[in-house]
């Protein structure tokens, strides 16, 4: 057998072409990282605080946004970018709160990238914007690798998903500065060990900030709101300096 191409013919020759090896050493995500840096610089100039919400499908990202916007929209100017593979359902839910929202449909794509977010921003008045919320596609895997230019990634985990999620998806919880444990109103009905969940999260990401919340009954949301307001204020001040 010919060792060059693996074909069965015993007696043919390949042209002796001088092959050249070209070193590239380029990060495959370099382009996304460059665009994310552009978004980040824009947020810094404008003093906009931005969060990238990530979770499995159905953990409550849109519910959290609906509740947060309803409770804080009179104090803070928000805008929302909604990422889903299909439908504008989530954007329509957000629109009922009156907050500016733009839907990004990723089609076959399973995550938002910095380019999509950059174009999404064209739909908002950035001069008055204080907090940008980005709801990523429901997926605990690859959104971890794609920087959007946000200040922080926020992982949502609902108590119906099992306390070992941080161990199963360590990349995501390592990339997130904040973890929200949602649907705590369901704790009496499911097997979910809160202490273990916290311990696992702390193991993959020492120092991760954790809030326990219920978007239904409102438990824990005050602490989340205080944190949000404090962060937004800090970002806006840094911009004025």
């Amino acid at each position: 057998m010919c060792i060059d191409c693996g074909c069965a013919a015993p007696d043919h020759h390949h042209e002796e072409t001088p092959r050249k090896t070209v070193r590239i050493e380029e990060d495959i995500l370099a382009k996304n990282n460059r665009l994310a840096a552009g978004n980040r610089a824009l947020f810094a100039r404008q003093g906009i605080f931005s969060l990238n919400l990530v979770s499995s499908p159905g953990s409550g990202k849109t519910s959290l946004l609906e509740k947060t916007l309803a409770d804080l929209k009179n104090e803070i100017n928000f805008a929302v970018l909604e990422g889903d593979q299909q439908t504008a359902n989530d954007a329509e839910r957000i629109a009922t709160t009156g907050v500016p929202v733009h839907q990004i449909n990723t089609g076959a794509g399973c995550h938002l990238d910095a380019h999509m977010v950059g174009h999404g921003l064209e739909h908002f008045d950035l001069d008055s914007l204080q907090i940008l919320m980005i709801e990523n596609v429901g997926n605990l895997v690859c959104p971890a690798s794609f920087d959007l230019g946000e200040d922080f990634k926020v992982s949502l985990l609902s108590v119906t998903e099992g306390e070992d999620k941080p161990l199963k998806y360590p990349q995501m919880f390592r990339a997130s500065e904040i973890m929200l444990i949602n649907k705590v109103d369901l704790l009496p009905y499911v097997q979910f060990d809160l202490a273990k969940c916290r311990e696992y999260a702390e193991r993959v990401h020492p120092g991760i900030k954790i809030f326990e919340i219920s978007c239904y009954r409102g438990e824990g949301l005050d602490a989340w709101y205080s944190w949000l307001k404090e962060q937004a204020e800090r970002k806006a001040c840094r911009n004025k300096e």
């Binding site: 050249k20 090896t21 070209v22 590239i24 380029e26 495959i28 895997v141 360590p170």
Partner: protein, 113 residues
């Protein structure tokens, strides 16, 4: 699928490089992929074949070199290979290791005429 987006970036970088080098043929493209980079080699191969159709990359080989993830223990400074992010230090048992390689996703080189 996540690997599709990654592959499109690979194809973009490879074709840009080939153009810069005025390549007439591309034999292979070599990647360095960390064992904890979160991509599946088979899926990359599959997408590569699809994405390289009707370009200078068609028929070229995608070579994937795995980079073994390694951590350095914060307590005793020992370096050890990781199979997942939760492995403890084999020397002192500490769970606080800092990953210093194993998440790379890089085009290393390509072979052209």
């Amino acid at each position: 699928m996540h690997e599709l987006g990654i592959t499109q970036s690979i194809v973009e970088i490879a074709l840009r490089t080939a153009e810069g080098q005025q390549a007439k043929k591309i034999h292979s493209v070599t990647l360095e992929v960390g064992s904890l980079a979160g991509v599946v080699a088979e899926a990359l191969q599959f997408c590569y074949e699809a994405c390289s159709k009707e370009s200078l990359l068609e028929g070229s080989r995608l070579i994937i070199e795995e980079v073994q993830a390694q951590a350095r223990c914060r307590d005793c400074a020992v370096e050890y290979p990781l199979t997942d992010m939760l492995d403890c230090c084999p020397a002192c048992g500490s769970a606080s290791g800092d990953l210093f390689c194993g998440e790379e996703l890089r085009i290393k080189e390509m072979e052209i005429d």
